[in-house]
């Protein structure tokens, strides 16, 4: 068999499209602005890199401690510490423009207008391949997840961003809702190109000696292997309800995990916490998917997507 084709189109309805050479990308907030790990992994081999969530103004983020390790999981309350949209455009985009690997910019706003404003600023900037709209950050007081828990609000943000940019646009949903399918359908109707499922689950840890929450921000978002089965189920449900490509994200730490998400209906995956554990993991996942396809004589990634959905 010839080499299997791992490429995937994540924005089929956008005129620019978002074609990845493979379906494995670095999740927002876990890979900085793309350069931090460049000494130890060949970032050009990734399907894409999603940069740290950016806001209109730079943010200092939440007080420390910002991280707690839990069984098979990680709670974070970074609070969107970032350099701001202007610095990203000036300092990071020119660098990305020289890369082969597409960079997707994750954005967060405190109002609908702010989301649109950032999207407008990013529009036409060389080096930026797509926008991922974060309506799911559990760690900020205003904005973030509050736009992701109400279908109407989610749709409003989506439309505003779509109108402000020609770039392919992904919306990243929060799992902290009663029915994620409703939210997904609302943003798809509003014209989104693809969906990332999902951001972190709200959680906390308590220091029993001090009798107080460990995190400086009290609550944080849970990521890592602990959430994988939960997110897999969300992908499985949403994949049956919408037509746009889904990017699965939550606890993926091996090629087998990634394949589970693809078979549940995801067209691509994002890897976050697992990179902290082993910076090589994303490359291993790309290789592993290729090996699996080769073994199973699957020529094209599309032949895997959604194959575990019982119809």
């Amino acid at each position: 068999m010839t080499n299997p084709d791992l490429s995937i189109q994540l924005a089929p309805n956008n005129h620019k499209g978002l074609l990845l050479t493979n379906p494995v990308m670095a999740a927002s907030g876990t890979f900085g602005y793309g350069t931090e790990y460049a000494d130890v992994i060949d970032i050009q081999k990734l399907g894409a890199i999603v940069s740290k969530g950016i806001t209109l103004q730079p943010r200092q983020g939440n007080p420390q401690p910002r991280l707690v390790e839990t069984p098979s999981g990680l709670l974070n309350s970074i609070g969107l510490e970032n350099i701001g949209a202007e610095a990203l455009i000036k300092e990071k985009a020119p660098l990305w423009n020289q890369w082969q690997v597409p960079v997707i910019v994750n954005i967060a706003g405190e109002s609908v207008e702010e989301y649109a404003e950032i999207a407008r600023m990013l529009n036409g900037v060389e080096g930026i391949s797509a926008i991922e709209v974060n309506i799911s950050c559990p760690n900020v007081a205003s904005g973030g997840a509050e736009f992701g828990i109400d279908p109407q609000m989610a749709a409003t943000v989506t439309s505003a961003v779509k109108q402000a940019t020609n770039l392919p646009t992904i919306v990243k949903l929060t799992p902290n809702v009663t029915d994620i399918v409703q939210i997904a359908q609302a943003v798809v109707e509003a014209g989104i190109d693809s969906l990332t499922i999902a951001n972190t689950f709200k959680g906390m840890a308590i220091d029993t000696v001090k009798r107080q929450p460990v995190l400086g921000n009290t609550v944080g978002g849970l990521s890592g292997p602990a959430i994988k089965p939960l997110v897999l189920h969300l992908v499985y449900r949403v994949a049956q309800a919408v037509e746009v490509p889904i990017i699965g994200c939550g606890g993926i730490a091996s090629a087998n995990d990634a394949l589970e998400f693809l078979m549940a209906g995801a067209s691509a995956v994002q890897v976050g916490t697992a990179t902290f554990v082993d910076p090589q993991v994303m490359i291993q996942i790309v290789d592993g998917i290729g090996r699996f396809m080769h073994q199973q004589e699957i020529a094209n990634l599309n032949q895997l997507i959604g194959t575990a959905i019982l119809r």
Binding site: Q60, Q64, F276
Partner: protein, 258 residues
């Protein structure tokens, strides 16, 4: 920065509950400086890599000195010669000895000795005079000797050297030094930060610990408040100027477990 599988040369408990592990890591050792650290994968039962200071750099090998405090370090303590360790490093900024420095005073609280030995050995090599105040709870926890370094020993129970804390002795010796370097618990740093004239005008560099996600500045997890805004322990640190940190806003990393 490199990620390598480093063969373990030796691993032994040199102080109760404190292990010295030697690994073959020429690529990392070649780049490493005192005050920098590596992160090590500590088995399948813990998630995050554990940050550990570079304790000694010797001919392609690295020595790490660590206290067994939880699951990750317990796993590390059980590793045998012949096995390998997945390490990432060197990471962080490291200590900075100024050009015109002749005398340096090192202040170690307990396991805080770990990175200071590396600094001491390098300084001695460079012809700098080194004194070390080492404090532990009791005599059995004391580190043996460092070639060419005068060690002033302190114990909380008085079983070795002076009875008390390193910070009790610090004011009387600080005057001798051009630069001070400290590693120990946050309480020690707080006491030092509150010192006035005793260490006034002296450059004091301290090594700060926080729980880390990535270790390379990608996740912004190990942020600490400084007078110049939030800084990352992994990237801007772990070595900071004592007076740069907003001590009243800092929480020690250890999660209390009864």
């Amino acid at each position: 920065m490199k990620q390598i599988l480093a063969p373990i040369v030796s691993n032994s408990e040199i102080i109760p509950d404190v292990h010295l592990i030697r690994i073959e890591a020429p690529q990392v050792a070649a780049e490493a400086r005192p005050g920098q650290f590596i992160t090590a994968c500590c088995g399948d039962d813990v998630l995050l890599r554990r940050p550990l200071s570079i304790h000694r750099i010797e001919e392609g090998q690295l020595a790490l000195l660590f206290a067994v405090v939880g699951q990750g370090t317990a796993w590390l303590a059980n590793r045998k010669q012949g096995e390998s360790l997945d390490i990432l490093g060197p990471l962080g900024n490291g200590f900075k000895v100024q050009q015109n420095t002749h005398n340096i005073l090192l202040v170690a609280g307990g396991i805080g000795i770990a990175p200071l030995v590396c600094l001491a050995e390098k300084a001695v090599d460079d012809g700098i005079s080194v004194k070390l105040i080492l404090g532990t709870a009791t005599a059995t926890q004391h580190y043996s000797e460092v070639d060419g370094v005068e060690i002033i020993r302190v114990t909380e129970d008085g079983s070795l050297g002076e009875k008390g804390m390193v910070t009790d002795l610090l004011p009387s010796i600080a005057g001798w030094a051009d630069q001070l370097f400290a590693c120990g618990p946050i309480s020690m740093y707080r006491t030092m930060a509150a010192m006035g004239t005793e260490i006034e005008g002296k450059s004091v560099q301290i090594l700060l610990e926080q729980v880390m996600g990535c270790g390379v500045g990608a996740c912004r997890g190990c942020a600490i408040p400084t007078h110049q805004g939030m800084k990352m322990v992994c990237q801007n640190g772990p070595v900071f100027d004592l007076r740069e940190i907003m001590w009243e806003q800092i929480t020690a990393p250890k999660i209390g477990q009864f």
